[in-house]
Each structure stands twice: as C-alpha cells, then as structure tokens.
C-alpha cells in the first residue's frame, strides 16, 4: 500500500506586505505518495521553485499545513526546530546544474550526507559505492567534479540525493543541462528509482517531452497548483 509522504494543505506563500505583497503560492493542496514521480510544470515565475523550497523546508510558508513522511512540519509556523535535520534525513536534492561540491571527490560528494547523519565512514563508503555502481559511475570514485562530463556529474548528484535513503527527492530541472538522450536517460533513472526504492520524486521541469514519464503532473500557474490528468 502506498504511503502518503508529502501532504500539502492550503499552503500559501506571500512575499512582502500590504500593497507590495506578492502571493507566490495560493492555498495549494495535494498529496504525494511513495514510489510516485510527480512533475511540477509551469512557466518561469509561476511559483514552482517557491513550492519546492517550501516542501524542502527551506522557505517558510505564510500559512497552511505541510507534513513529510507523517511528521507535521508546518502548521501556521514551523513545528520543528531543526529543518536542516529533516533535509539531511528525509530529503534528497538534485539541481539543474549538478552542484557537486568542487573540492570533494565523487565518493566524498556522495558520502558527505550520510556522514552528516552520523553514519560511519566505512558504511557510508560501501553504500556510496553501491549507488555509484548502480548509476554506472563506479569507476569515477576518486575523480573531482571538474573531471566529469555533465551526464556523469548529474548521476553523481543523483547518487548523493539517494545516499541518505530519503523518502523524498526534490529535483529542480535535473535534465535542463543535458542533451535529449542523456535527459531521457536521467528521467528514466529517476522513474526507476522511485518505483524500486519507494521514493517520492518531485521534479520541476519545463520540458513537456518528459511528461509521459511521470505518474502525475502538477501545473503551477500564477501561484495556483492544479493537478493535470
């Protein structure tokens, strides 16, 4: 049975006050379940990034409720003190530009998150090697990010996002910097991960060609989130 991983209820975000107030997200309500791949689709400035940063406990909402993996995160105010712990333990992030730490090698880029969670280095290394092997970059362990191609870097970034056994992966246009073939490969990989590892994956994308690969599509227009069949 699918477990409800992300629960968003009347979640809103308004920047500024009074006449200058701009509502980026208006009373969004939706649930996302384990193993699902969900696309956040919408034009630039529609509020996709605001929504994903609220789900990722980075941006504080203005009102509404947010629960992750059954734990209430926000209800008119943060319900937890350390939002970074939630990100460390429950969420994996993938960025448009792979955003690997340039002074860490491939293995260290992947093991840093579990090590921050107190996992022993040997265990973290073992897990990272398995992930990198799974993603086809096992021969790049000691390479620096500057020595990798765009596709290889994005695979390492995916490995990093999975290294803490997250319940949720939030991806911000992960295929934007890749050519069509590589972009398709990465999307297929994310889909496979979601289904095999029961991870809820939310992907911000502009690329409508990728839409058939998602289980659900949430359109964001002028801050209003609507589900598209």
């Amino acid at each position: 049975m699918k477990k409800r991983i992300i629960s968003v209820e009347n979640l809103s975000k308004t920047y500024g006050e009074g006449e200058n107030a701009v509502t980026a997200i208006k009373e969004a309500t939706f649930d996302i379940y384990s193993g699902e791949t969900v696309a956040l689709l919408g034009p630039s400035g529609s509020g996709k990034t605001t929504l994903i940063t609220m789900i990722g406990c980075i941006t504080e909402p203005t009102s509404g409720k947010l629960s992750l993996d059954g734990e209430l995160m926000y209800d008119q105010k943060w319900q937890i003190y350390d939002t970074r712990r939630i990100r460390r333990e429950k969420i994996g992030f993938i960025f448009q530009a792979h955003n690997l730490i340039p002074f860490l090698n491939v293995l260290e880029n992947v093991t840093i998150v579990p090590q921050m969670n107190g996992i022993k280095k040997a265990t973290a290394d073992q897990k990272a090697k398995e992930l990198l092997d799974y993603l086809g970059v096992e021969d790049k362990l000691t390479k620096m990010p500057s020595q990798l191609s765009g596709g290889q870097s994005q695979r390492v970034a995916i490995a990093r996002s999975l290294a803490n056994n997250p319940k949720i992966i939030l991806a911000d246009e992960p295929t934007a910097a890749l050519d069509g073939e590589r972009a398709l490969s990465v999307m297929n990989l994310l889909r496979k991960l979601a289904h095999e590892q029961e991870v809820a994956i939310v992907v911000v994308t502009h690329d409508e060609r990728m839409l058939p690969l998602f289980d659900r599509i949430l359109r964001v227009e002028d801050g209003i989130v609507k589900e598209t069949i």
């Binding site: 970074r84 990100r87 460390r88 448009q96 955003n99 002074f103 860490l104 921050m116």
Partner: protein
Amino acid sequence: MINLAQRDIAHSLGKFVTTALGVGMLIGVVLVMIGIYRGMVHDAMIVPNNIAPDLWVVQKDTLGPFAESSRLHEDLKYSLKGFAGVKEVHPLTFQSLQMPKGDKPIRVYALGYESLSSFKPFTLTQGTAIKVRSREIIVDTKTGFILGDKITLGRNIYTVVGLTHKAVSSGGDPMVYLDLHEAQELQFLFSNEQIRNDRVRGAQSTATATVNAFALTLSPGFDSKTVAQEIHRWKHQEVYTQQEQSDILTKNLIERSAKQIGMFTMILLIVSSVIISLIIYTMTMGKIKEIAILKLIGASNFLITKMIAQQSLLMGIIAFAGGAIFANASANHFPKTVILIPSDELKLFLVVIIISILASIGGIRSALRIDPASAIGG
C-alpha cells in the same frame, strides 16, 4: 566525518600556501621587530656587563656615560681610591669614531681603559690584550679587521693586536678598545693649528687628562649604596650602582626605540589580522554556492563554522611557521643584533592563533547568512 577545510585547502593548495606565506612574511617581520628590541636590550648591556663594576662615578647631574655626556678630571681617581670600601678605580673614556676601511668609514664605539692594569673590560677571541702604549688597538670582528691590520685614527696609526666577537655598543656599533691615554688624545687633544693659536692667545689647550666615567670595584662586605652616598656627598659627583646604570640604559636610552618598535609591531599585527580577515572573507565569499549547497543538503552551522575557522587557523599556523622560518633564517643578516627567544615566538604564535580565530568571524557571519535556497535555480 570528512574534513571540509582540509579538502578545500587541498583543492587549491598552491593558492592557499602562497597566501599564507605572504601573511607569514608580515608575521616574520613582527618577529624580527621583537628580536631587534631584544637585541637592543642585549647590546645595551654588553659594555656595562663586560666592565661589571660595583659603582659608576660620572659628572654631577648627568646620566653618563652612555645616556648623557659626562666629563671628569682623571686625577679624581686618587681621591676615589681613598674612600672606605673602594678597592679599584678604573678611569674610562667612551666615544664614537669613524674608522676608515676601504672606501667606507666604519662607525665604532671606542672604550679607553688603563691598558697596563689588570682590568680587562672585554673578552678576547683572538690575539692579545694591549701590552704597551704603542698604538695598539683591540677591535671587534664585526669591524672586518683582522690581527695585524693597520688603522689610521686621528694623527696616528694603530695596529690590531686583539679581536673580540659580538662586542657592540647600545647603538649596535662594534666596539674597539684603546689605551686610556691614547683614547684621551683622540677625544680631547686639539689639532696642532688650534694648539698653536691657543698658545698665541695665552690659553693652555694641551691637557687631555679627562675621562668620561670611573668604574669602581668595592671590597667585599661594603654596601654599594652606602659607598655611593659617601662619594656623592663628598665629591659632588653622580654615582650609580650597576643596576641603576642598567635601568638608565634600558629605560632612558632605548625606551623610545622600544616604544617605536612596539608601535610598529602593533601596527603589523593589526595589518596581519586585517589581511587574514580579508583573505578568509574572500575565500568564504568564493564558496557561496558550495556553502548554500551544504546548507541545503543539511549541513549544520557548526560544520560550516568549523570549516571556515579551521581554514583561518591553518592559515595562521602556516603563516606563523613561514614567518618563524623567515625570521630565524634572516636574523643573523641584519646589521643590528636580532635575538629570537622561544618564549617570544610562543607568545606571538598564541597571538596569531587568536587573530586567526577573530579573523574568521567575518567569514563565518557571512557564511551563516547565505540562503540555502540560492542553491536552487529560480
């Protein structure tokens, strides 16, 4: 846990070490400044310590002979010998001289002493003491002269018969030692032309029996303060103990120089801390994206603070090590004595560590203000 500071430094090692060594040069200069101060104190006490009297008798109302000019009649020694407790009286002259050597004259500090007595206000490393009054001279190796060299001073030529090592005046000039009467001639004898003119005017100007100070040794059991009071009372001259002379030298003579050096040292330390702060701040600002990613993936403030503080500390440590190597390697090449004491180096190391920690505060504050959302594209 991965040491982020170490990895970041390793990633740009050349840049980091070069920067640290640049700061190290500044710290090295600070260390040399402290060493120069120590050297000044050391140099100032070489001559008084070599003479090592119990009392110094100098002209009334002066701080002579090192801090102020002092002139006394040489025959005062006979009445000084008459005081109870006075065992030996050594008349001395002191003067700065320019000794010709090659194209350039060398500035030296000359001490005149009774060469035929057993009193020897120096330690010879080569040659012999002056045995006869026949224009013999003892010089320090720092002058560059060797045994047997001939030196023209005034109207006479002197032969180097003995050498000392590292005997310098409070000003850092190498010492030379002359027989008292020859030194008196050098200092007090007028030129032949002036003597001739003075004779025509009816003035007597050939007397040279003047000295700058007397060094007194007391017999055992006599209190130097008591003897000093007696001499002051009856002979109307200034009398200082060796400790008082030492205080005059360190407090009066080199106090301003010490303050000057202290000011320079403070300025250099402030400049060093500003530079380290700017470097750490710039290094941190160069990693805005990486710090935003670290925060986004859940890195704690402690981890980020630790990274920046460790880098700052390591920069301070490398800078200090480089500075200490530079200072120690260059200390003997300075014209004046530079004395580097381990305790001074340890104190400066602690100061550098404190500066490094303080310098990292700006970078840490900036890093903690970085918004993790900036790692995500709009």
